[in-house]
Amino acid sequence: MTHKILICDDSVSIRQMLVLTLSDTKYDVTESKDGMQALELAKQNVFDLIITDVNMPLLDGLSLVTKLRVLPNYRFKPILLLTTETDPQKKKQAKAAGATGWIIKPFDPDKLLVAIRKVLR
């Protein structure tokens, strides 16, 4: 079964980086450029994993997680935050919003794959 991943980042280069990293994998990747777009896409499709940036226009990553968690399809789905913060406070916030985990930007392609493996088997 191909896992469907939704990625969300307002930066084209980060998105490109994610797509490139995931291009040779079995994952089926969909891109979105802000939280609003991600939320819409998430409602129209069922993704197995959502990877989202935190600082974004229209709808930020944390709010996106909160909004996704109330949708029946995403109550237990893994959601990873892409963040440059290592501040424990920020991680607590992410957790409180319902995020599964986080990936520190800039990420090593291997680490990203490991992180994904931790939530998709």
């Binding site: 319902g98 985990g101 088997r121």
Partner: protein
């Protein structure tokens, strides 16, 4: 896993420059002592994205600098600073530094590190919270790790007790996945404890009642194991203990962060004391980027972003083209004369398709002029502050599109004109008051389409040209005598002469005497023209006309003898049969044609190009009145042929630059036709007739 970052790198720079533009325009929109959350967030996000991207490419100096800027912006978001002009100026400066650093990294050259340091110090001074000079640890995390080979070799046995909270599944974490990941590290034994599972009726299927005990045989380090549990550390009880080693080295980890880190620190003295672990280069080395492997990146950075709709249009047209082609194919296969109508239809369709394709491809190269205009709010802000003037900048027609190359080449001339308007045009607030004008001067940049060209106007409501000064200067330069009477328009022409500057003292902004002549030359090189209208006390307006594109032009074919030339349709005013009675010949070679109230010099093309077998009697040929750079001239040709769109081929690349000829094209017949450059022809004509070159043609005096 390695991936090719070349493509992403190009994207990163493109995106970062866009982010800098966003940062700058948002900063300029900020109002003093007003907290505009959206604008501040925009600025923050821009700096944040640059930092994040720079991290990918290990541009550590940029990361560090952007990080400090981000810290300040974060403090601004938290309202620790009020928005002041100093703060805005500092952040504008930060943007400039980032731009400089990014440009240097993109081109792989060095930059002025001192400037960075000065700005950095300024940032540090203003920050509420001290910042580190170091690269923020969050960014280089992945690079610092030095694999410790000695530890890898030893397989150890670990005992892991894992008691997740009931709610753990609700964050999307599944213990099974974590175990799977542990299994990647070595051999794993899993024992599940089901004691906590309640009676069947009480079970909430969304909760996790299980706890686990795991035995892991691995050569991985404790931190490798901990990392797997990183995301759930706050939602579980976790004990990681090493078996089979002496008791003093037994490590017990529990979930309280504080304690955990202490223990971890205690257990890693060997790592810290390891002699001379080579520090990763990117941390110690100066920010000089000279990676030979990355050299090829530069070649493909000149890209253009195109809206999907434009591409979709192209695909549509190509689709239609294919249909037309197959239709013509069918007709051609067994053609008989009764099909002629169909053939004509097909050809007409082909022509339509081709034209559409051409137009749409041209559109791809088109960019809105806002790309160029957007830098002016900043420029005007900086300059007016520096000059102590108050200026309101009005932009309009920013969506007018023109060719990317034209746009890029117009950038410097526009900057020059804007600087001139600020420096020489708009007066100081007191002067404006005295002249009973509003204190705040107005500078208007406007762009619009007119016919086949783009017009850009720069209008100010300043003092206008000081005709007296210009006159004195012209006399001083010996261009005119002090008694000579010339029109205002002719006076204005002088500002485009090399070496002209009315500014008594040279300011560092403009008035260095290089300027308007260069501006005009640049615009002419693009096939455009510039003219100026100025009224003393009311202001000046520069009008620039540019071709929409450099690749194709609407041409009028003319014949002179056996040669066919192309005249840009835009430069033609009218064509007429010569009435001999209206031609006046003066001493020397100059013939003047009286057209209504105008006197127009006649340029016999066959003479200037030394052609034979042509019509030499004026009344037998045609006079094409053309305009180049505000001057009119009558080009004498044998006859007019058709009008058509022609593709311009560069003459310089294939032959050499020829005055009076701007390029060449290949006609339907396969013959080459030269494209005439009216402005150049006028120059050539002036030289040949020995008219003074610095004077507009209209001012030529005849004895």
């Amino acid at each position: 896993m390695t991936i090719d970052l070349t493509q992403v790198r190009g994207l990163f720079f493109e995106e970062s420059f866009e982010n800098l533009d966003i940062m700058e325009s948002s900063l300029l929109d900020l109002e003093i002592e007003t907290f505009d959350e959206e604008l501040i967030n925009n600025i923050f996000r821009a700096a944040h994205s640059i930092k994040g991207g720079a991290g990918i490419f290990q541009l550590d100096d940029i990361v560090t600098f952007a990080h400090n800027a981000e810290t300040l912006l974060d403090e601004i978001r938290e309202k620790k600073h009020t928005i002041s002009q100093t703060l805005i100026d500092l952040l504008l400066g930060v943007g400039d530094i980032l731009r400089m650093m990014l440009l240097a990294s993109k081109d792989e050259v060095t930059y002025d590190a001192e400037k960075v340091q000065i700005c950095q110090n300024e940032l540090q001074r203003i920050l509420a919270k001290p910042v580190s000079e170091e690269i923020p640890d969050d960014i280089v995390q992945t690079e610092i790790e030095v694999p410790d080979e000695t530890e890898k070799l030893v397989v150890k046995k670990w005992h892991i007790e894992f008691k997740p909270e009931l709610e753990i599944l609700k964050t999307g974490n599944d213990p099974i996945n974590l175990f799977g990941e542990l299994q990647e590290l070595g051999e794993l034994e899993v024992e599940v404890n089901v004691d906590e599972i309640p009676n069947f009726v009480d079970i909430d299927p969304q909760l996790c009642y299980l706890t686990w005990e795991l035995i892991l045989h691995t050569s991985a380090t404790q931190s490798d194991i901990e990392e797997i549990f990183e995301w759930v550390i706050d939602e579980c009880e976790l004990d990681i203990t090493e078996f089979n080693s002496d008791s003093s080295k037994n490590i017990k980890v529990n979930t309280e962060n504080q304690e955990r880190t202490e223990i971890v620190e205690n257990t890693t003295p060997e790592i810290e004391n390891l002699p001379d672990i080579p520090a990763p280069e990117n941390i110690t080395e100066k920010p000089i980027i000279k990676d030979v492997a990355n050299k090829h990146i530069q070649s493909n950075t000149d890209s253009i972003r195109v809206g999907i709709d434009k591409i979709d249009n192209l695909i549509n047209i190509v689709g239609e083209l294919v249909i037309t082609q197959s239709m013509l194919d069918q007709i051609g296969e067994n053609f008989n004369s009764s099909d002629i109508c169909q053939l004509q239809d097909g050809l007409a369709q082909l022509e339509r398709n081709t034209r559409e394709l051409q137009e749409n491809i041209m559109r791809i190269r088109m960019l809105p002029i806002s790309f160029s205009f957007n830098r002016f709010p900043r420029l005007v802000h900086d300059l007016s502050t520096q000059l102590g003037k108050k200026v309101e900048l009005v932009l309009s027609g920013e969506n007018t599109e023109l060719d990317k190359t034209v746009l890029e080449k117009m950038s410097d001339p526009l900057v020059h004109l804007v600087r001139n308007s600020l420096d020489h045009g708009i007066e100081l607030p007191e002067q404006r008051k005295q002249a009973s004008k509003p204190e705040v001067g107005r500078l208007h940049l406007n762009a619009f389409h007119q016919g086949g060209s783009v017009v850009i106007q720069i209008t100010d409501d300043g003092a206008g040209f000081d005709t007296e000064k210009i006159r004195n200067k012209a006399v001083q330069k010996g261009w005119i005598t002090s008694e000579e009477v010339i029109t205002e328009e002719q006076l204005h022409e002088f500002i485009f002469q090399p070496g002209f500057s009315t500014s008594e003292e040279v300011s560092d902004l403009s008035g260095r005497g290089v300027g308007m002549d260069v501006v005009r030359r640049n615009i002419r090189d693009l096939g455009g023209s510039i003219e100026v209208k100025s009224t003393v006390g009311e202001g000046s307006r520069f009008t620039i006309r540019l071709p929409l594109t450099l690749a194709i032009l609407d041409g009028q074919l003319v014949r002179v003898g056996k040669e066919i030339f192309v005249l840009p349709l835009l430069s033609i005013i009218e064509s007429l049969r010569v009435q001999n009675s209206l031609v006046n010949s003066f001493t020397g070679a100059v013939e003047i044609y009286k057209l209504r109230d105008d006197y127009i010099p006649i340029l016999r093309l066959y003479k200037i190009f030394e052609l034979e077998d042509t019509i030499t009697k004026l009344e037998q040929g045609l006079l094409v009145i053309a305009e180049g750079d505000g001057q009119k001239i009558g080009l004498f040709v044998d006859e007019l042929l058709s009008q058509q769109q022609i593709v311009i081929k560069n003459l310089e690349n294939n032959y050499k630059k020829v005055q009076g000829v701007s390029g060449a094209t290949i006609l339907g017949t396969g013959n080459v036709a030269l494209i005439l450059d009216v402005t150049g022809l006028i120059q050539l004509f002036k030289n040949k007739t020995k008219s003074p070159t610095h004077l507009p043609l209209g001012a030529i005096r005849y004895e």
